[in-house]
Symmetry: C2
Subunit: 396 residues, 2 copies
């Protein structure tokens, strides 16, 4: 007892069965099932998305639109995309497009998603989908009205390591979940010019919460399911000049003392790990936890002592020459977009309007937590700045 037999031992990413298939909601992709993608935006994340789509069976990229038509043309030429749309509305109305990938700047997501949904397209919006909960809610309601597929692109949930962890948690191998921790911070000042980068521009959806906070926050419902936390406490730091948040820390309490802590920020490089703690062990998703290829399972023996920790590494598939020749990827592990894209295609072919890996309820809960965080951080920064009112001022 108490050993690996407790959960399925999987040797490689190819052997992990994604949740939608495991649940019998979908079937493996059939190369004859063609899904035609329109790409909204031509920036760095769109590049990485298109590069990944090239290996997904049945994926066809038929059109791209960007604010700058020259940029869109260059993008189309580089990636062999047949059409360049003159503007976003033209893209959304094309008859050779089934689904729109929205990779524009944060503040434009809502307008583009509504345009696409109202034109009858399925939609995948980069995370966070909305600048706030109300924007997300509007998108989701619109998708429901038009009976279209909608996904907020929290790609972490589709990585084979994360799909595998779901199975380990289901097996009860680490007992009941009592805590989780997740962090994601980096020193933005080295890569993004301050204060001119969009990363610090409030009007474009800048700031730490929207840029990086969404990743560790979205791991809270991964550990605890779609239950609402009882309490969310948050503190964070605002850049006084730009009025964007630079970092934050969150404690979320669930019934019976289950607890989550999250830290995120643009000021320094944190460990970028996610740890899920159970009564009988824990699982650590190693850095970079937002697009992970490695995790370790620590478990207790029955009685005292520990089982030898087990580390699993599921490297990304080799990058095809054609993808390398067209410039490869901008961001770390972006080739992992393929897992998300394949799941989206399976779900759409099965007639689903969501992915079970990250449902619209997951999106809404995360947006709601973020809303609470924003309210609290804003309220605190409006108080006298860094007044030690929580600590006694009586000289000791």
């Amino acid at each position: 007892m108490g050993d690996t037999s407790l959960f399925p031992v999987i040797e490689s990413a190819q052997d992990v069965i994604p949740l939608d298939l495991r649940l019998g909601l979908t079937r493996p992709l059939d190369g004859n099932q063609i899904l035609r993608w329109g790409i909204c935006g031509a920036g760095r994340v769109c590049n990485d998305w298109v590069q990944s789509l090239k290996v997904v069976p049945g994926a066809r990229i038929t059109s791209v639109a960007a604010r700058d038509p020259n940029r869109a043309s260059k993008f189309a030429k580089l990636h062999g995309i047949p059409h360049v749309s003159n503007d976003y509305a033209e893209l959304m109305h094309r008859s050779d497009v089934d689904i729109i990938y929205i990779g524009t700047v944060q503040s434009e997501h809502l307008a583009h998603a509504l345009l696409a949904l109202e034109s009858g397209k399925h939609v995948l919006v980069e995370k966070p989908a909305g600048c706030n909960r109300d924007e997300l809610k509007t998108m989701i309601e619109t998708a429901k009205q038009h009976n279209r597929f909608f996904l907020e692109g929290v790609w972490t949930r589709f990585f084979p390591i994360v799909e595998y962890i779901r199975q380990i948690l289901e097996s009860n191998a680490i007992g009941s979940i009592v805590a989780m921790q997740s962090d994601f911070g980096f020193n933005s000042f080295e890569q993004e010019e301050y204060p001119s980068s969009p990363m610090y521009d409030k009007s474009l959806g800048g700031g730490a919460l929207l840029y990086v906070g969404v990743y560790p926050i979205s791991m809270i419902p991964f550990a605890f399911g779609n239950e609402k936390p009882c309490q969310v406490l948050a503190t964070g730091y605002f850049d006084q000049k730009l009025q964007v948040d630079m970092n934050g820390a969150i404690s979320a309490m669930y019934k019976d003392g289950r607890i989550a802590t999250v830290m995120y920020g643009l000021t320094g490089e944190t460990a970028e790990e996610t740890t899920v703690v159970g009564s009988k062990g824990r699982i650590v998703i190693h850095t970079p936890a937002h697009c992970p290829l490695r995790m370790t399972v620590f478990r207790k023996k029955d009685g005292r002592g520990n089982v030898e920790p087990q580390t699993y590494e599921f490297p990304l598939p080799a990058i095809p020459q054609s993808v390398n020749e067209t410039g490869g990827f901008v961001y770390p592990n972006s080739f992992g977009f393929q897992f998300e894209a394949a799941a989206v295609q399976r779900c759409i072919f099965a007639g689903l309007t969501e992915c079970p890996q990250y449902t619209t309820d997951d999106s809404l809960l995360v947006a709601e937590i973020m809303e609470s965080v924003r309210d609290q951080v804003t309220a605190r920064q409006e108080e006298e700045h860094c007044n030690p009112h929580y600590l006694s001022e009586v000289p000791l």
Copy 2:
């Protein structure tokens, strides 16, 4: 630039110079300088303390007292301690005792420390020294009145790995400190009978905050010095039957957005790591972070990219046969008490009344943060239990 030359590279624990010596406050121990220890208590932690003292130059254990005289006699016989005191007061008044080590149950610390200090003895009290800030304050004030040495036994600060990290932080090799994270949780139910163990007994100083919270909380001023945080936010879970806290999570914000998060508890085994994040890299103190033997330094290169992470392991010295023959140690890495004990002796021989590794100001700041945590956790549990009042209740 940007490489190991930035900080002193030390190969083994023996080459680490403790802070008190580095600052020139003390000198290496001289075997002729004898410090006579009286041991207050005869439980598990006292066993481990006495076993460690056996290798500290100049340390003599002259007497022991415990509530149960038979237990004290057995303890004295096992460890070759010449005298058994009839009661605590007798111990405190012995002329062959210079310093009292207090390893009794939490709720007795105050009475024993005052008795010792008022009898003119130096005092080392196991952590946390007080059940609350006022108890600690009383001890420290009494020590000052009597001009005696006082230390709260936060032994983590004396481990060679931690002494070395101080030097790395001073060297600015990871830049300015922007964040820290620390956690310590284990599943107490497997080792400590519920609800009868003192660990769950409020009247004896039970509960997660006092038992384990003190460790990660004491790492906050390690990262940020003796500055007060601007804000401390805490949530935690109370056992409704026993009225002790079972876990907690803390966010502490410092001026300019420096931020600390801490998680602790008795419900599941967390990673038990401490991470100090700087603008140019981070240091991870690996498990068990409260008595650590291993750490990794992650640093950025000048410009982009990272320096190869460097892991340092400073194992404990070999345990002498005599220590093994008398039963060895109860708790992990307890032989590391020797670093703390040696520093105490050096400081006392130098005429100091504190150790620079963990001053009374450090103790007071940690106690103050804990007081704020207790107040908040208590206030929240008196509110309706787990009412999701921080989240919108409007159906989405």
